[in-house]
Amino acid sequence: MGLRSYIITRILLTIPTLLLLLSMVFLIMRVLPGDPVALHFEKKATPEQMESMRRALGMDEPLWTQYIEYLGGLVDIGYILEHGYPNLGKSMQTFEEVGGQIFSAFPATLELAFYSMIIASVIGILLGVISSKSYNSILDHLIRGVGTVTYAVPIFFLGIVFQLIFGVYLRWLPTGLRINPAVDAPATITGLYTVDSLLQGNLFKFFESSKALLLPSLTLGIILSGMFIRMTRTNMLETLRLDFVTAAKARGLKESTVTYGYALRNAFLPILTVMGLQFAILLGGAILTETTFSWPGLGRYIVDRINFRDYTAIQGAVVLFGLFVTFVSLVVDILYAYLDPRIRL
């Protein structure tokens, strides 16, 4: 199978997965015991008020019709072209379009996720390689210990400790928001502050937004790096024992060439797959990190909406998380197939 037909098959296979995922979200939010409208009012509303909210949100119709409308809203091209985002229904709190609110919060999450991923992979792969090279030495145990401990640390605890040290005591770094409130946010091009300020050639804003990004992305990155250390170490240990590595050493190649050019290159494929799966965990971690640092992204949005018992908004945000993860796993699979031709057989 050529790369192109693999990509097409893989995209087609995404459709049933997506359908399942969307149905699952609907099942949780609408069919599970607990009527969202009744939950929203906490039994403090008259039946008439509840009825009028149901009518306003289209929840008075049979579940089946609601389900079709829910799926239909996501693929309604006309609506997407008009608004720039899919129809995810209306908020129970403000009756605004959930889609609009979510898509304006999303870039903040994307930016946090992107930088955390870079930090996690750099720390994780580097320490993982060092650990495997010095297998069973004190250094190896030390790095493994660090990896294991990061895995057991609640992400928001690390965030709080960072805030306490660098924000409250040392006052070096801001402890919340995407940019210093005294500085205007860069004009929106991509929605990523660091990228936008660079595109506009404004180094000051780039510096300010990077400063705000540092603590949250470091928190998330360090927590994730534990799993990268473990994965890299295990895969490198398996690879370093293979014959081709011994052969390369025997040919007198430099140690670093053998490690990075031969072994890591081959150990990297399984690491890449894990990176794709880690993305789901990263987004989960982003919710907690955003809450800790008042980072105005999608995670913070979900938590805010939980406090308002705004179930339609929660549903919309969960759907977007699902779409995003599906998209990332699609990209990772395609990348994998490109790097390893055996997958396409």
Partner: protein, 294 residues
Amino acid sequence: MTKVKIKRSILARLIPGVTSLTRKGPSGWMVILGTIIVSALVIMTVIAPWIAPYDPTKTSVGPIREPPSPQFPMGTTHLGQDMLSRILCGGSIMLQVSALSVLVCFLIGVPLGLFSSYVGGSFDKACSLVIDAVYAFPGLVIAIAISAMLGRGVVNMALSIAVVYIPSYFRVVRSQVLSIKELTYVEAARGIGAKWHAILFRYVFPNVIPSIVVVATINFADAILTAAGLTFIGLGVEIHIPDWGRDLTSGWEYLSSGAWWIITFPGLMVILLALGFTLIGEGLSELLNPKLQR
């Protein structure tokens, strides 16, 4: 008489077990250390009501937000509760939530995985498709959505966490069974006319147990962290109940007051408990990985 005999035989098995673990190098030590940490915390939680110096829920037993002092070794909370008593009693919710969620996962994930992979065909394909969809989804997001709908409480928290981890059990069991069911001894069992459920539970299942144990310990650690996370965003237990996750959250709400003790002690306890399970899980998975045996 029989009691003594049983005790002796357990000890006789345990001691060589421990000594053989120590001979396995660092991975063996990790398992031992993890077991010690977890057992110590479980014992502490069980005997806490008798050893706690104050009632953990009682407010104003001391001044509010007092730093650690001889009378209050871990300080007091913003309601004037004794932090030490809350730390001693605070593991109970997390242990209950994680144990219950592991139990639910085990009871659903394992039989489903065994059955699905043994039967194969379109039933297996359908199961795998659904499970993979759940597996790919951000776990905390599902747990948040379910928790938001079910409401607070130990059982609801455990259920929402269980949904996230059932796929791990299913996948591990499935991949193991797929290779085990082709082995000669299973074929032999089939040859002598063993029924499918006998083959599945008496011949195949015992060989899957080691992998399940690894998944379960990691599941324990994850469940503890997820429970703490759910509590942090306001989906955990009520504020007066002593719970490490809950106290950590209240400490964060009063962060600017600089009261480090309200955050640090519960945080360290959560880390310790999760670390205990992680050490066991990671140690075991390395011991059981055939690719790493020399």
